[in-house]
C-alpha cells in the first residue's frame, strides 16, 4: 500500500502536510506505560531500556522500510495512523512502588498497556495491578518462570524464561558430549534473588534429569563486597563447567576474583544477565575470552537479516551501545504490543488483550532468532528459541543451536 520513499525528508514533509487532513475524530494517540528502575543499583538497566523503547517508538511512529510489524507507514494503521506515546515511570526496584506507579499510569496517564520491568519481583505486583484494571502487561525482559504460571489473563511474555534457557544449555552439553567432550560435573553459582534462585533451581532440576553431577551449588548474596570465599569453594570443586547466574556487579567481581585466585574453569556457561552487559566486558573482557552465555539475541543475525544491523545502528546512535539480550527483548516487546493494539483497532484493554492472544508473527519479522511469536494460554511464547553465544575476539558469536550457529564452540575456553 504505502509507497516507500527513499527520500525520508521529503516523505516526512509530505505526510506531515497530509496528516491534519486525514485526521479523523478517532484516537490520535496511544499511550503506553513503561516501568523501570531509573534510580538505585540497577538504574543503568532502566536508562538502557529507555533508549531501546525510544528506538522501537521511532520504528513504529516513523515510516521505515524494515520487515517488522508497524515499521512501514507512520503510527498504528489500525487506529488511523495514531502515534504511540510512552510514559516512563520509576519503580526503584521496589514492588510496592512498581504497584503504585502502575496504578498511577493506568488511572492518571490513561495508558492502554504497560511494559516492563527488569526485576521479576516488581513484575509480580505490576502484573497484578494490570490484571485488576484489565490492562495488558507485556513482560519484556523478566525471565522468572513463576511469572506466567500464575494464570493471569492479561500477562504476556514473548521472550523465553529461565527453564527454556537452561534446557538449551543442557541440549548444548548433550551435543558436545556426543562429539567427545568431557562434561560430567557442574558448579552452580547464583545470587539469592528471584532471578538467581529460579535459575539455580531450574539448572539443578535439569542436571538431575540428564545425569550431570553438580559438585557445588553456591548461593551468594547479591552485591557482595567480596566473593573470595565463594570463589575458593568453586576452585576446590573444580567442575568441568561453571554456570553463573549473576548481574553485572557481581559478574565483574566474580571474574576479577577468579583471576586473583588463579581459578580457570574449562568453560563458563552463564545465565545471561550481567554476562550480556557491555559494562562487564569493558571491565573484564580480557579474562572472558571464550565465555558462553545464553541469550535471545545475537548481533551476528545481521548477516542473515540485514535489518537487524540497521536497527542496531539506530539504537547505537541513541545509547552508544550495541543491542544486548535485554535491550533487544525490550525493543521487540514494544513492537509486538503496538502491533496488537493496532490490530485491536481500539485502546480498550480487553480488546488489546484478545489481539495479543491472537498474535502470530513469523520469526523472520522480528530481530530475534525465534521461530515465531505466538502466546499460549498462560501468555508465554514457547517458540522463542534461546541461543548460546560465545565471546570470541571481542564480540559474541552464535554457537548453538546448529540452525542459528555461525561458528563451532571453542572448548575449553582460553
Amino acid at each position: 500500500m504505502t509507497i516507500t520513499r527513499r527520500d525520508v525528508l521529503l516523505g516526512a514533509t509530505a505526510t506531515a502536510a497530509l496528516v491534519p487532513l486525514a485526521a479523523r475524530a478517532q484516537t490520535s494517540e496511544v499511550v503506553i506505560g513503561v516501568i523501570y528502575p531509573f534510580s538505585g543499583g540497577s538504574a543503568q538497566q532502566g536508562v538502557d531500556a529507555q533508549k531501546a523503547y525510544e528506538t522501537a517508538l521511532e520504528v513504529i511512529n516513523k515510516d521505515t522500510d524494515f520487515d517488522l510489524p508497524l515499521a512501514k507507514g507512520e503510527g498504528l494503521p489500525g487506529l488511523g495512523g495514531a502515534k504511540v506515546r510512552l510514559v516512563f515511570a520509576d519503580h526503584q526496584a521496589d514492588p510496592q512502588k512498581g504497584r503504585a506507579e502502575a496504578e498511577r499510569l493506568i488511572t492518571q496517564e490513561k495508558v492502554s498497556a504497560i511494559i516492563g520491568t527488569y526485576q521479576s519481583a516488581v513484575a509480580v505486583t505490576v502484573s497484578q495491578i494490570c490484571e485488576r484494571y484489565q490492562v495488558p502487561f507485556v513482560s519484556a525482559d523478566n525471565s522468572s518462570p513463576s511469572l506466567h504460571r500464575r494464570g493471569l489473563k492479561y500477562y504476556f511474555r514473548a521472550a523465553p524464561h529461565d527453564e527454556m534457557y537452561s534446557a538449551a544449555m543442557f541440549d548444548f552439553f548433550d551435543a558436545m558430549k556426543k562429539k567427545g567432550t568431557k562434561i560430567e560435573t557442574l558448579s552452580l553459582f547464583h545470587e539469592d534473588t528471584i532471578f538467581g534462585t529460579d535459575s539455580g533451581n531450574a539448572q539443578a532440576k535439569i542436571a538431575g534429569e540428564r545425569g550431570y553431577k553438580i559438585v557445588t551449588d553456591i548461593k551468594y548474596r547479591a552485591n557482595s563486597p567480596s566473593l573470595s570465599a565463594e570463589v575458593q569453594q568453586l576452585k576446590s570443586a573444580n567442575a568441568d563447567v561453571l554456570m553463573p547466574s549473576s548481574y553485572t556487579t557481581d559478574g565483574i567481581l566474580l571474574v576479577k576474583t577468579m583471576a586473583e585466585l588463579g581459578y580457570k574453569p574449562n568453560a563458563i556457561v552463564a545465565q545471561d544477565a550481567g554476562f550480556s552487559e557491555k559494562a562487564l566486558y569493558d571491565a573484564v573482557g580480557d579474562k572472558l575470552e571464550g565465555v558462553i552465555s545464553r541469550g535471545t539475541f545475537s548481533l551476528d543475525l545481521a548477516q542473515k537479516r540485514p535489518m537487524v544491523g540497521k536497527i542496531n545502528d539506530m539504537f547505537k546512535a541513541k545509547s552508544g551501545k550495541d543491542f544486548n539480550d535485554l535491550t533487544s527483548r525490550q525493543f521487540m516487546g514494544l513492537i509486538i504490543l503496538a502491533d496488537a493494539i493496532s490490530r485491536a483497532k481500539s485502546t480498550d484493554g480487553e480488546k488489546i488483550r484478545d489481539a495479543l492472544a491472537a498474535t502470530d508473527i513469523p520469526g523472520e519479522q522480528t530481530i530475534m532468532p525465534w521461530k515465531r511469536v505466538k502466546f499460549d494460554e498462560m501468555g508465554q511464547n514457547n517458540d522463542a528459541d534461546p541461543v548460546l553465544l560465545q565471546y570470541i575476539g571481542g564480540k559474541f558469536v552464535t554457537i548453538f543451536p546448529p540452525q542459528a550457529a555461525i561458528a563451532e564452540a571453542v572448548w575449553p575456553m582460553k
Binding site: 543503568q44 539469592d192 576474583t257 583471576a259 580480557d286
Partner: protein, 277 residues
C-alpha cells in the same frame, strides 16, 4: 580482605570513633574516591596506586569542606544531636548518590588494566591477590600513622580533648572547628586512600558505597569507639569471620557470621573490644 575492611574502617574510626560524630555518608565518600581515581585513570592514565595520594588530598579538602558547610551545623544542634547527625549525614549520602548518578551516569565502571588488578602472588599454594596485599600494607601503614598521630602529636591530643570537652578547649584557645575540620579532612583522606586501592579491582557505580558502609560501622564498633587499634583489630576479625562463616554456612549467609560476632562481643563487652567511649 579483612585488612581492606580495616582500611575502609580506619577513616570512619577517626570520624565516628574519635570525634563521636555519626557519619552515614561514609560509603559515599568511598564512592567519590573510587570515581575520582577512575577518572584520573581514564583521562590521564594515572594508575590508581599512583593517584592514591592525589585522591587522598582531594578527599581531604572534600571532607573538611563538608564539615565546615554542613556537619558543623549538625553538631551545633542542642536537641537530639545524635538524630540530627544521623539524618543530616544520611540526607547527604542520598544527595551524593543522586549527584553521582546525575554526573557520572549509573553505568558500571571499572579500571580494566592496572598495576595491581588481577595479579596474584602465590606462596606455598596460598594465593595472595596483589590488590589485597597492597591494601593490607597500606592499611597497616595508615593505622600506624593514625595511631602515632593521635597519641604522639599535639594535634591528636587536641582532637581528643575537643571531643571530651569543647568548652574547656575553647578556653585554652583551640578553635574547635579548625580541629574538627582537620579531623574530618583526615578521615576523608583515609577513605580516599581506600577508595583508590579499591578502584583497582572493584567495580564502581553510584551505589557502591552501600555494601561497604555497614561492614565499616560494624568493624569500628566491634573494635570499640575511640580506639584506633580497636578498628584495626576489628577489621582483621571481620575478615577472618567472613572467611570461616562461608565454610560453615551457605555463602549467602556469610555476613550473618560477622553480625553475630559483633552482637556476641558487645553483649560481653558493651564497649567493644578496646573501646573507651
Amino acid at each position: 580482605m579483612g585488612l581492606l575492611y580495616g582500611l575502609i574502617a580506619v577513616g570512619l574510626a577517626l570520624i565516628f570513633g574519635l570525634m563521636d560524630v555519626t557519619n552515614f555518608a561514609h560509603g559515599e565518600f568511598l564512592m567519590i574516591a573510587m570515581y575520582l581515581s577512575f577518572f584520573l585513570f581514564a583521562f590521564f592514565a594515572i594508575d590508581p596506586l599512583l593517584s592514591a595520594p592525589l585522591v587522598a588530598a582531594a578527599l581531604f579538602i572534600f571532607g573538611a569542606v563538608i564539615y565546615l558547610l554542613i556537619v558543623r551545623f549538625a553538631m551545633r544542634a542542642k536537641a537530639n544531636a545524635g538524630m540530627v547527625q544521623i539524618f543530616t549525614t544520611f540526607g547527604l549520602a542520598i544527595v551524593m548518590r543522586g549527584l553521582a548518578q546525575y554526573f557520572f551516569t549509573p553505568d558500571y565502571r571499572s579500571i580494566p588494566q592496572s598495576w595491581l588488578g588481577g595479579k596474584t602472588i602465590s606462596i606455598a599454594g596460598i594465593f595472595l591477590p596483589e590488590p589485597q596485599l597492597v591494601g593490607a600494607l597500606v592499611s597497616i601503614a595508615a593505622f600506624a600513622a593514625l595511631y602515632f598521630f593521635i597519641h604522639r602529636t599535639d594535634f591528636g591530643r587536641a582532637l581528643e580533648a575537643t571531643r571530651e570537652d569543647p568548652g574547656a578547649v575553647a578556653l585554652v584557645g583551640i578553635d574547635k572547628n579548625r580541629v574538627f575540620a582537620f579531623g574530618w579532612g583526615l578521615g576523608a583522606a583515609l577513605v580516599g586512600l581506600a577508595g583508590a586501592i579499591m578502584a583497582s579491582f572493584f567495580y564502581i557505580y553510584p551505589d557502591v558505597g552501600a555494601s561497604f558502609a555497614l561492614i565499616a560501622y560494624v568493624t569500628v564498633a566491634l573494635g570499640g569507639f575511640g580506639s584506633v587499634f580497636g578498628a584495626f583489630a576489628g577489621g582483621i576479625i571481620v575478615g577472618l569471620v567472613e572467611a570461616t562463616t562461608a565454610l560453615v554456612l551457605p555463602p549467602a549467609l556469610k555476613s550473618v557470621g560477622i553480625y553475630a560476632v559483633y552482637l556476641l562481643v558487645v553483649f560481653i563487652r558493651p564497649r567493644g573490644l578496646f573501646g573507651s567511649i
